[in-house]
């Protein structure tokens, strides 16, 4: 197990390098000169001299690979530069906003688990019953619902009409309910479908037939042979989902005025605050990669083929 984790971590190194290269290249996609943007945001008229000074300060005159290594060196030391707007270190800002987003994503993940596991399992076991049909239709609609629209519908009904829950801001647990639900419903729909399919697939496996032929009790077969196997693809996907939720919270945070990274990044985009955008990309990628690593480790504990390196 330890060897598996070590191998997995080592295999991350090239990926992380690739990520850093990509985020570095991103800033050079910018059709305008960052120095000019910096000056405009600092309310200094972008004269040629001023631009030249800032360019020198930012190191934009050095050769590209030199810039990359300088930047990488700083990044390794968690220095992402300073925001053009607030002039504060970007890392500190991101870390300031991140807990709120994490809070939101974790709450949604919990909702997703609570909905999708029982519903997925039972709709697979009672395939084609009324329960299954209804769940499938709901899952279908849930997966097609735009989250920004769903949030307005929820706000309108639960907050404005019924006055049950607060619609905007962060504070009490009640504040969490609407944004977390909005964020969760789409993913819950996807997971219910995924788990259902995975369960049905495993129910048709030869080892389930053999388990029945050995006279095992149906409950044991469902739990030990079907569900455990069915969970593996779901766990792999969960690592990704949490990442997608962190990203997907951009829209939800904007609707619910949730003070997280998502709101911060959108305002930064409008301000063309390039260091923040760049740091955001890198930061999210690293979080995402780590989440996937975590999911892989869980899978390895579940599946001996991964742990022990079997073929096929």
């Amino acid at each position: 197990m330890g060897r598996f984790v070590a191998r997995r971590i080592i295999s991350l190194v090239p990926v992380l390098l690739g990520i850093s290269l990509l985020t570095f290249v991103l800033i050079h996609l910018v059709p305008v000169d960052p120095a000019e943007v910096y000056l405009r945001l600092s309310q200094i008229p972008p004269t040629d001299e001023a631009v030249a000074v800032i360019r020198a300060e930012m190191g934009l005159n050095k050769p590209l690979h030199q810039q990359y290594f300088d930047w990488l060196w700083k990044v390794v030391h968690l220095d992402f530069g300073k925001s053009f707007v607030t002039k504060k270190p970007v890392m500190a800002e991101l870390l300031y906003y991140f807990p709120a987003t994490l809070n939101l994503a974790a709450a949604s993940l919990l909702i997703v688990l609570l909905i999708s596991i029982p519903v997925g399992v039972f709709s697979a076991l009672y395939k084609d019953t009324a329960f299954d049909q209804i769940c499938r239709i709901l899952a279908f609609i849930g997966a097609s619902m735009p989250s920004f629209w769903l949030s307005f519908v929820l706000i309108y009904i639960l907050s404005l009409e019924l006055n049950l829950l607060p619609a905007f801001g962060r504070g009490t647990l009640a504040h969490l309910v609407l944004p977390a639900t909005t964020l969760a419903l789409g993913a819950a729909a996807v997971y219910t479908r995924l788990l259902r399919t995975s369960m049905l697939e495993n129910l048709n496996q030869n080892f389930v037939l053999y388990a029945r032929a050995r006279g095992l009790k149906e409950k044991l077969i469902v739990v030990r042979h079907v569900l455990k196997n069915a969970l593996i693809p779901v766990v792999i996907a969960f690592g990704m989902t949490l990442g997608h939720m962190l990203a997907g919270s951009v829209i939800v945070e904007n609707v619910f005025a949730w003070p997280g990274v998502g709101r911060y990044i959108v305002s930064s985009i409008f301000n063309r605050d390039y260091p923040v955008i760049q740091a955001y990309a890198l930061f999210m990628a690293v979080v995402f990669v780590l989440l996937n690593l975590f999911a892989d480790i869980i899978c390895a504990t579940l599946d001996p083929r991964i742990r022990l390196g079997g073929d096929k």
Partner: protein, 331 residues
Amino acid sequence: MNEQVVLDVKDLHVSLPSMRGVVGAVNGISMQITEGKVLGLVGESGCGKSITCLSLLGLTKEEGWVIAGVAKIQGKNLLTLGPEEIRKIRGKEIAIIMQNPLTAFNPLMTIEQHFLETIGSHLLLSKKEGRNLAGRYLEYTGLSQPSKLLKQYPFQLSGGMIQRVMIAIALALEPKVLIADEPTTSLDVTVQRQILCQLARLKEKVRTGILLVSHDLGVIAQMADEVAVMYCGCIVERAPVERLFNQPLHPYTKALMASKPKMQKKTLQAIGGQAPSLLNFDGGCPFFERCHEKSCCCSHYKQELVQYDDKHWVGCAKFAVKQRMLYYEPA
């Protein structure tokens, strides 16, 4: 002669719905499995061998499937038992060895877990006793170091090893009947021979009756005491093994034997055409189209086994007619 019939199947029918009508997968087969003897069920793919096995275990309870007939084990009719009663019989009274051993094991569980859950479903044994039982049977099947093996996962074993594990699991509860559904088809020839020998030895030890299903006449010749030849969901001939190989009566049996390459250069007698569809099976002779020996009366013949002599039954119009005319022709 004190032969005890452990499983008595009478007139088993299985039909299943398909997009274009009802398929008669098994059309009234009868057979007896005797304690300590091997009944070989031989036939080509699609003749209903596997469905027969599964229906005996009550594992064909799918929507639209119709199963009729009687299959008696210890006075109980398997086909009418409730789910919990049949569960108690599966694995305990009737065990099975399947064709694809590698896919039959749950990849997430060790061999030991497979053993223990099977034993635990039928007997009240402690883990330690269960483990001992498992180890003992693994040794019987010729596997060395059973304690190490028990801790391994299915994917760590080779095809031959895992098939032996399957045999050990099947026999550990000393079932009355063992169904071996193409037990060696997916294995290499050298391993196949070993597995068959091992199975024959264990049969003597446990005194179980075996239903050995195979498409390979070689497997049957090596293992069986009695043979039933199956074609299109019907048994077309049934006889003791020596008798069948010496004097096959049904044209299909003869053709099947002639079409198998036998370490000689003689031209093979292939059967022309292919097996008919079992859709809406009408009960006539299923081999009619491909038969070399058909005559005018065949088309009206209703497929059923008639007794040719003491232990030899055949389902062919030729013999049915002769018998009725009290006309006996030495073969």
